[in-house]
């Protein structure tokens, strides 16, 4: 009995595949031979065929809607959120850059750093005087050395941004025996405030009491006074622009960094906008 059922199972499988044309020619011809003599196999074949046709008669259903995908469905939404972030960062960087540059320019103009055309000429003259002073045939007198700290101290007091230009604005330029000499008003005033009994070194022109200025100057270096073999006829004050200029570097670097950052962010924002 069990063998009969197994045989039937196998026969049903063969008949089902035969209906679909899925038997190889050898199997198909063998089954056809059996079908001729076996009415039970014929009946099963008919019923399987009817079942197949009934199932095949099911109509195709019209989809209730379209199933096209949106970017949100597949997670493309995240890319969009980058654009407003970069736009905001660009604005912040640009505003910070503008504020920093504006503040820097304001501070410089407020402390006399901005130069007029006349003052630029004066600065040029000063540089020429410096070159003359450095010449081997022309050495500084003790009075000149003493006056130098008087120049540096007010500069340090004003602030970091005190380059050569600040000296130029507050400087009185006068000529003594063909050589231009410049002294800051502040230094000159301090000279005037010196006690009248202070011993003054011999000089034809302006002299400054050294001990008083040394106290006022504080820890700054003093160069040893070398007696001049030649008669000193004027006072030459040299300036050292490198010292205040080095203090400007952090601000300038920040300005440049912010400017570059704003440009890069702007470019990235523009690209994101185009892609969007």
């Amino acid at each position: 009995m069990k063998r009969m059922l197994d045989l039937k199972d196998r026969d049903v499988k063969q008949l089902s595949a035969y209906l679909d044309g899925e038997l190889n020619p050898k199997e198909a011809s063998r089954l056809e031979l059996r079908l001729k003599d076996d009415p039970q196999l014929q009946q099963v074949l008919r019923e399987l065929n009817r079942t197949k046709q009934l199932i095949g008669s099911l109509p195709q259903i019209r989809p209730p809607r379209n199933f096209t995908l949106t970017p949100e469905m597949v997670g493309i939404k995240q890319k969009r959120s980058l654009y407003p972030v970069f736009r905001f960062a660009t604005v912040v960087a640009a505003v910070a850059f503008a504020v920093l540059v504006g503040t820097d320019a304001f501070l410089r103009s407020g402390t006399g750093i901005m130069l007029t055309a006349d003052q630029m000429v004066e600065v040029t003259h000063e540089v020429q005087v410096e070159k003359l002073a450095e010449a081997p045939a022309f050495e500084e007198s003790p009075a000149m050395e003493a006056a130098e700290p008087a120049m540096e101290a007010p500069l340090g007091a004003v602030g970091e941004e005190q380059p050569l230009a600040s000296v130029a604005e507050d400087t009185d330029v006068f000529e003594t025996e063909g050589v231009e000499v410049s002294v800051t008003e502040e230094a000159a005033n301090r000279v005037e405030l010196m006690p009248s009994g202070t011993p003054m070194p011999p000089s034809d022109s302006l002299t400054v009491p050294t001990p008083t200025l040394e106290e006022w100057r504080g820890p700054t270096e003093t160069q040893p006074a070398v007696p001049s073999p030649l008669p000193t006829s004027s006072l030459v004050i040299t300036t050292e622009p490198e010292v205040p200029r080095s203090t400007l570097e952090p601000i300038r670097a920040t300005e440049v960094g912010l400017g570059v950052l704003a440009v890069i962010l702007g470019v990235v924002t523009f690209i994101l906008r185009r892609r969007h």
Binding site: K13, S16, D20, I61, R62, P63, F67
Partner: protein, 209 residues
């Protein structure tokens, strides 16, 4: 609107590069097939639509794993897997499934959704066709998932054994065996709806086993 094979290859390539519009053209081309397969397996429009949508989303996300061959088979494998998962979930919630089956077998409000090629028929004939379709769908729904998929792909959609074998990732012999047993079960089930069957389709009284 069918997309030519050459166009389909290009659309798949573009979609693999992330072009959603190209993929959506493939969706429009295959959505009817995918929905019909899902509907015949699930037997219910809402969950069929959900499975269809899930299948297309999954297909897009895994499109780079498609290495050529039949895109239709690859897509059908995804949708049948989605249906498998949904049917397994339903099995864990048998109350819902039983209610749906009872409603279907009683033929209360079970109606086929909109169908293609609506030919002119009398209201009486139309009603009979709807009842017959509901009865067949009821019998398919009673099959286990692995039988259901094979019957739907071969007898409803008309695919050959090899393609079904590719879809379900099983040998052709398995397809042949499952289909034969599924047809026997359907024959037995449809005999219970004998009064709905057309005269030419009525079974003889003899049972096989």
């Amino acid at each position: 609107m069918m997309v030519a094979a050459m166009d389909e290859t290009e659309l798949i390539r573009d979609a693999q590069r992330g072009d959603l519009d190209s993929f959506n053209r493939l969706v429009l081309n295959y959505q009817s097939l995918v929905f019909n397969v899902a509907y015949r397996i699930m037997g219910e429009p809402d969950s069929s639509a959900d499975a269809t949508q899930e299948a297309f989303i999954s297909a897009y996300k895994h499109l780079k794993s498609f290495r050529g061959g039949s895109f239709r088979s690859w897509l059908l494998r995804i949708v049948t897997n989605a249906c498998y998962d949904e049917l397994r979930r339903r099995k864990r919630r048998p109350s819902t499934s039983l209610e749906e089956l009872t409603e279907f077998s009683e033929g209360s409000d079970s109606q086929e959704p909109d169908t293609f090629g609506s030919h002119v028929a009398s209201p009486e004939t139309e009603a009979e066709n709807i009842e017959l379709s509901a009865a067949i769908q009821d019998c398919i729904s009673r099959l286990s998932a692995e039988f259901k998929i094979v019957v739907v792909l071969v007898d409803v959609q008309g695919y050959d054994y090899q393609e079904v074998s590719d879809v379900i990732n099983r040998p052709v012999g398995t397809v042949k065996s499952r289909l034969a047993r599924a047809r026997l079960k359907l024959r037995d089930c449809l005999q219970r709806h004998r009064e709905l069957l057309p005269a030419s389709f009525r079974y003889e009284d003899e049972a096989i086993s």
